[in-house]
Each structure stands twice: as structure tokens, then as C-alpha cells.
């Protein structure tokens, strides 16, 4: 195979990376920070990233006297001889070289690329990665390998290993307008199609269920349209259920009895609560237990005074709390009392392999979103904990709960350092997949998320970020940050992302695949096979 050589290794260290001097013919304009390149060692092939590019001169006097308006002949002679470029290259993976006469054999061999344990010697050649290199590192499409996009300059798939993806909580980041929700839709489609996990999506802006117009005025299909009855739609908004062709399966109600102290504390900012609120709620809870909120809201001024006398609570705090919490009662979806059966049914549906989208409809204020998402997630997580315990007792494969991936947008509302320890999401993010529940965190300000949570994220997918703190935050705990920092800053606003972490062998910049007819066909094709239909019927009605 013929490769275009870019240059040779001239110095370097294992810890800091290698320096490659570019050949006179190679120009720095064809290289980008974060590009995937290959170093051909004597015995190993090193899959590497470009972390820096430098322009150099052999004689510093040239800097003070560059060839000015002189001849092009001189300038051309100096280029690549006394003036040249070096590239800092970071080996990420290595692969022992074998006979390459048959590429298919090369891909099928059992030993894939390994972590880098050595570095090549002087004069190892650097070249651009070709299609075979990408396929060797990122695998072929199919099975649990989900093609997320293509390299920036090539037309071959780069695959996300979904089986590894669902082993940890993950994050999707990027400035607004970088296509986070389309990316999430893409990944969730892959997860649904490959059955790697079941999904619970808190759909704050009603983006995931039905078709939606993109910024460039195209209509893209929603998950319900792509996967049909595999996806159940829950809604808080009754009016949503009445729209033509956009039916809702269940309208969800929240009972005042279901709201716990932690939910209210989480909403301190939205409800304008004072610092004393937490203590006051504690006293209310001591007296009324689960009924505290209901009882508080129904208290007459006399009862309130009586309660303060008996419990020692400050009357002003209790009445202000009562006033502020009345806002909860005014939400349409909040009822006096609701049983958990709707949520428990939802967990059972998830367990049968259904995917659930919870739409907020017109109740899309932060208050609604935080309250409901946290409440639902807490219940779901409890049920999963029960299921996991049962599985640990019986050790029956049938009892093992399916991995559940919970997608939340505006994740910093639940995972900022102040509240991450109190929300169900914070618990899930920290305990990882102990109970087979993972998060897909979507946010445009990763710096506002608790660093402890960030460090637990397995795979991070990021669109363009420019804020220094956000970049730092996304790169928390990632090796070789300088190369990735450069790559993140130089991404285009649209359709370009950087993936790093557990589900890819090495960080890579990807042009995301379009969400179009070809993609629907790739996903829909599976639905049309008779066996698949049989599976669906079984999923729908259970084994009986």
C-alpha cells in the first residue's frame, strides 16, 4: 500500500510525545491539531494524534532577515531546508505489524490495537491515516458498533462501541447550535436499534418524539416515528394527547404526596425559598411524614400557628414556605394524591425493552423539568435497585434488569456542585452502573457540572466549545489534553464533534452522519424483518 509520507521522527520522549520533522514537500496547511496520523515503527504501527505544530529555522538570524521582496527562487529554496516545520505527535495506540497482503485478515485478527507501551526510534515515518487504519482502530459498522459519522477528510464510518458506551454514564456537550440534541437523537437511535440499553428520555423541549425542523429547515423524524411502538410517550401536558398523528400513550400526574424534601430543596432557586426552608421542611416532615406538603398547603393560619407552637418552627418561615410552595400546587399536572403505579408501570415497560420519552409540553419551565425529572428518576432508580437486589439473590439471567440509559438535558440543573449530592441523578452518576442505570448528560455549560460527576463520565462527545472553563471541564481526567484542547477549539460549529473516552479506542474528530433517509433506512431495515416483528410482539405482550 502506498502512503503519502509527511516526515520522520527526529526526537521525543515517551511521556511528552514525539517530534516529527516535516518533509520539504509537506505543508502544515494539510495538518490539523487532533488529526489521526500513523507512525510506522520498525515492529509496531503507532496510531497517534497531532498535538502541536511548530515552524522552525535552522539559523536564528533568518528570523531577523527573512527573504523580503527578493526572489521567489530564494524563498523556495529556504522552504523545507533552513525553514521547516515540526509536528508534535502523541502515540495513542500501537499495533504489532504483520503481513499486510490481505487486509481482511488484518482486520479479523484477534489482537487489536493496544495501549502504547513503547515509542518508535529515530526516522520512523509519519503518514496520514488511511481507511484501513481507521477500520483497524474503530472497527467495522454492525452489531454493537454504531457508525456515528466519518473522519473529516474521508468517507468511512467511525464507530462507537455501544456495548462499552452503556457501561458508564456519558456526556454530550457543546455550545448551543452545535447540534447536541441531534447528536443525542443519533446515539439514542443507535442504542435502541442495537438493543444495548433501554432509554428514558426527559424531553424538555419536545424534540425527540416526533418530527422536528432543523436549523437548516429540514424535517427530521422523531424516535416514535422511527421505532414505532417500541417507544412509549408519556406526557405531562394533557393537550399534547389530542394532536393529530402525535398521540401520547400516558399522561402523567404528580401527587403532592410524591414530592419529597429533596425535591423542594433542589428547587430552592426556582421557588425563591429562604435558607431556613430546609429546616422548616424537616420539622414539617417530623410531624406529618409523607403528608407534609399536602398538610402544609392546606393549613389555615390558625393551624399554622398551632403547628409552630408545638414544633418550635418560626411562624414567618412556615408561612413564607407555604406561600412559595403553593406554586407547585398550581401546576396542572400536580394533583393532591397520586399513586406510584403509573411510574411502576413505566419501569415494567422499560424492563420489557420499551423506551420511554417523557414530554413536558407547555410545562417546560425549569421548575417543572427539575421537579418531575428528579421525582421520576428517584422512583425508577429505587425500582431498579429492588430489581438488582432480586437478581443478586436469584442469579437468574431473566431477572437481570436491562441497562437503562436516562437522558437529561440542562444537566447542570441537577448536577451542579451545590445539588449533585442530593439529586437522584447525582447518585446515579456517582455510583455508576451498580444498578444498571446510567445517564446521558446533555449540557452546554459543562463547567457548571460537579467535577466529581464529570470525572465519572465514561464517554464524552463534544461539539465546539470556546469557553476556557468548559473546555477544561470536558477534558477533566483525559490524557493528552493539549492536543484535544486544540481539536475542540478548532471544530466547526456544525456537524463536527470530538469523541473521547470509554467507547472509542482513542479520541477522534468526527463529522457526524446526517439524520436523513439513508439513516432511517439503516435503522428501519431491522424493523421490517419477520423475526423482528415476532420479537416485538413478544416484547409488547410478554412471554405468555
Amino acid at each position: 500500500m502506498k502512503h503519502e509520507r509527511l516526515g520522520v521522527v527526529v526526537e521525543g520522549t515517551f511521556s511528552a510525545g514525539l517530534t516529527v520533522r516535516l518533509d520539504p514537500g509537506a505543508t502544515t496547511e494539510q495538518l490539523r491539531i487532533g488529526d489521526f496520523v500513523v507512525l510506522e515503527g520498525q515492529h509496531n504501527r503507532y496510531f497517534s494524534l497531532i498535538s502541536d505544530i511548530q515552524l522552525r529555522v535552522t539559523d536564528p538570524r533568518l528570523l531577523s532577515d527573512p527573504p523580503r521582496e527578493g526572489s521567489s527562487f530564494i524563498a523556495q529554496t529556504l522552504a523545507g531546508t533552513t525553514t521547516f516545520a515540526t509536528v508534535e505527535v502523541r502515540p495513542m495506540l500501537m499495533l504489532e505489524k504483520v503481513d499486510e497482503s490481505s487486509p481482511s485478515e488484518l482486520l479479523d485478527r484477534s489482537v487489536g490495537p493496544q495501549a502504547v507501551k513503547t515509542i518508535p526510534m529515530h526516522f520512523a515515518a509519519l503518514r496520514q491515516a488511511d481507511e484501513l487504519d481507521f477500520a483497524t482502530v474503530f472497527g467495522r459498522e454492525g452489531g454493537k458498533n454504531f457508525a456515528l459519522g466519518t473522519p473529516l477528510s474521508m468517507d468511512i464510518p467511525i464507530c462507537l462501541r455501544l456495548d462499552r458506551f452503556v457501561e458508564r454514564s456519558n456526556g454530550i456537550f457543546g455550545q448551543s447550535g452545535t447540534g447536541k440534541s441531534f447528536l443525542a437523537r443519533l446515539i439514542i437511535s443507535g442504542v435502541i436499534q442495537s438493543k444495548a440499553a433501554v432509554n428514558l428520555i426527559f424531553d424538555m423541549h419536545d424534540e425527540y418524539s416526533f418530527d422536528k425542523q432543523t436549523e437548516d429547515k429540514r424535517w427530521v423524524k422523531g424516535l416514535r416515528q422511527l421505532f414505532g411502538p417500541q417507544v412509549l410517550i408519556y406526557s405531562l401536558d394533557e393537550s399534547l394527547g389530542r394532536r393529530a398523528g402525535r398521540n401520547v400513550d400516558v399522561t402523567l400526574k404528580v401527587g403532592l404526596n410524591q414530592i419529597e424534601e429533596a425535591d423542594v430543596v433542589l428547587l430552592s432557586e426556582e421557588l425563591n425559598l429562604r435558607q431556613t426552608a430546609e429546616a422548616t421542611i424537616g420539622l414539617l416532615h417530623d410531624t406529618f411524614h409523607e403528608q407534609w406538603l399536602l398538610r402544609l398547603l392546606e393549613m389555615s393560619p390558625e393551624e399554622l400557628e398551632l403547628f409552630c407552637q408545638s414544633s418550635g418552627a418560626h411562624p414567618a418561615s412556615v408561612s413564607s414556605l407555604q406561600r412559595n410552595l403553593k406554586r407547585l400546587q398550581r401546576q396542572d399536572y400536580v394533583v393532591k394524591e397520586a399513586s406510584f403505579s403509573a411510574l411502576d408501570d413505566m419501569v415494567e415497560a422499560l424492563d420489557r425493552g420499551k423506551h420511554v420519552i417523557l414530554q413536558f409540553g407547555r410545562h417546560n419551565s425549569v421548575l417543572d423539568y427539575v421537579l418531575v425529572a428528579n421525582l421520576v428518576t428517584r422512583r425508577v432508580r429505587q425500582r431498579y435497585e429492588d430489581k438488582m437486589r432480586r437478581y443478586e439473590e436469584t442469579k437468574e439471567v431473566a431477572d437481570q434488569p436491562r441497562t437503562l440509559m436516562i437522558t437529561i438535558e440542562e444537566a447542570h440543573k441537577f448536577l451542579n456542585p451545590a445539588v449533585a449530592r442530593q439529586t437522584a441523578f447525582g447518585t446515579i452518576a456517582r455510583e455508576m452502573r451498580k444498578y444498571n442505570v446510567i445517564l446521558l448528560v446533555i449540557d452546554q455549560r459543562p463547567s457548571s457540572i460537579d467535577p466529581e460527576v464529570m470525572s465519572q463520565l465514561g464517554t464524552r462527545v463534544s461539539g465546539k466549545l470556546t469557553e476556557e472553563r468548559d473546555i477544561d471541564s470536558v477534558l477533566t481526567g483525559v490524557a493528552n489534553r493539549s492536543a484535544l484542547r486544540g481539536a475542540l477549539e478548532s471544530l466547526d460549529t456544525r456537524q463536527q464533534i470530538l469523541i473521547m473516552g470509554h467507547a472509542v479506542p482513542m479520541p477522534v474528530t468526527v463529522r457526524t452522519r446526517p439524520f436523513d433517509q439513508a439513516f432511517y433506512a439503516a435503522i428501519g431495515a431491522r424493523l421490517q424483518t419477520p423475526e423482528q416483528a415476532g420479537d416485538d410482539i413478544q416484547d409488547l405482550f410478554g412471554d405468555e
Binding site: 539559523d59 527562487f73 530564494i74 524563498a75 533552513t82
Partner: protein, 225 residues
């Protein structure tokens, strides 16, 4: 063509007396000496590094000969004895040798014998020898009256003409020199300015294209003070 006879010889080069007064071979041009050999013939290649015309008797300096009516070339016609009291010498630095069609660009094991004749190198010999540019390294290290930089520049100019203005070769030679002089920007500029052929003709558009990417944009020059 025979042009002179060796009158002083050493491992690094030789001094020869030119057959024609005032007509030493051009600075930087290739000359060839056929060295004696038991086996196949050996040709020693040298580059002219200096030329001078002096009196035959070193103790007597030449004196002025011109008058108001007789000057320049006319002097030699009026005073034929000058051809016997003056002589033209040139020095040459050995840069390689050839035997059986193989070129070696390093010093020969023995200097050429004294009194052997010196020939100009033919077109084919020049083209064959300059196929490789290793000799430039040797030439840059010569110690002579003339600066090695000027000798190298003269040599490259000379070869460029003898190779029918082969621009590819010229660029290659320029890059070789740039590598050799990488730590001395001033010296490099001296040589490059001396061998610069000027603007490329349209036939060499590839060169022009390439260099325009490097040279500053001419349209912007006006903005400079």
C-alpha cells in the same frame, strides 16, 4: 580540450599553467586530469578555484607597458616578448574521480602527477558528474584565495549553463547548498543571490506556482512604507 599543465600538485588539488596567456578556465568550471593507472583509466575531476597572471620571474614584478597610443590588447601586439615573461596560472580543487563510468565524489587516493595535462570537461562529463551533488560539500570546505562560497556559486552557475539551464537541477543544487549552510544564513544568502536565475520563464510554471506560495504577495508590497 587541453588547456594547461600541472606545475604544483597535492592531495586536495593542483596548480596548472594555462597554455593561453590571460585565459585561465572560468572560475568554478570543471577540469579533468587523466591519471595514470595500471587498470582501467581514471579521470580526476577538479573545480577551478582561482586564476592569476604573474611574471615568470617572481623576483621581478611586471611594470607598466601602455602609452597614450598603445593600450589594452595592442600592448601584446607591440611587445611580443611579454608572452615569454608573463604566465597565467590557475588553481583547481579536486572534487572526485571517475572510473569505468562510475562517479566517486570524494578525494582521490593520490594527487595527479606533476606536468600532466589539464583538460576542460566535456558537456557529457559535466552532466554525468553533476548528477550527484555530494561534491558541493567538498567544494565548500576548500581553502583557497577565493571564498569557497563564491567558488560554489560560480560552479553552480557554470553547470546550470552547461546543463542547458536545467532549472530542476538548479533548484536541487540550491536546496543542497541550503542544507550545507543551514547554520549560516548570511553565507547561504550570498550563494543563493549569486545563483538566482531571476524570474522563472512561463515554461517553468510549476516552479513559479510553487514559489508564489512562499514569496510575499506582490500586490501587498505597496502597503509597506
Amino acid at each position: 580540450m587541453m588547456i594547461g599543465e600541472i606545475i604544483e600538485t597535492m592531495s586536495t588539488g593542483f596548480v596548472a599553467e594555462s597554455f593561453e596567456l590571460n585565459q585561465p578556465p572560468a572560475l568554478g568550471s570543471f577540469v579533468v586530469v587523466h591519471a595514470p593507472s595500471a587498470g582501467p583509466s581514471v579521470e580526476l575531476y577538479a573545480v577551478v578555484t582561482n586564476g592569476r597572471t604573474v611574471g615568470v620571474d617572481p623576483s621581478r614584478r611586471p611594470i607598466r607597458q601602455s602609452t597614450a597610443a598603445v593600450f589594452d590588447q595592442a600592448i601584446y601586439e607591440h611587445q611580443p616578448q611579454l608572452k615569454h615573461t608573463l604566465r597565467t596560472e590557475f588553481s583547481a580543487a579536486l572534487v572526485g574521480w571517475a572510473t569505468e563510468g562510475r562517479i566517486r565524489q570524494h578525494l582521490p587516493s593520490r594527487p595527479p602527477p606533476l606536468h600532466f595535462s589539464v583538460h576542460t570537461a566535456s558537456e557529457e562529463q559535466v552532466q554525468h558528474f553533476t548528477h550527484s551533488l555530494q561534491y558541493l560539500r567538498l567544494l565548500l570546505q576548500t581553502v583557497a584565495e577565493v571564498s569557497p562560497l563564491q567558488v560554489v556559486a560560480a560552479n553552480v552557475r557554470e553547470v546550470f549553463e552547461r546543463r542547458d539551464q536545467d532549472r530542476d537541477w538548479l533548484c536541487q543544487a540550491a536546496r543542497e547548498i541550503a542544507i550545507l549552510l543551514k547554520s549560516d544564513h548570511e553565507a547561504l544568502l550570498n550563494v543563493l543571490q549569486a545563483i538566482d536565475p531571476g524570474e522563472a520563464d512561463p515554461a517553468n510554471s510549476a516552479l513559479a506556482r510553487q514559489s508564489s506560495a512562499i514569496a510575499p504577495d506582490p500586490s501587498r508590497r505597496g502597503s509597506r512604507p
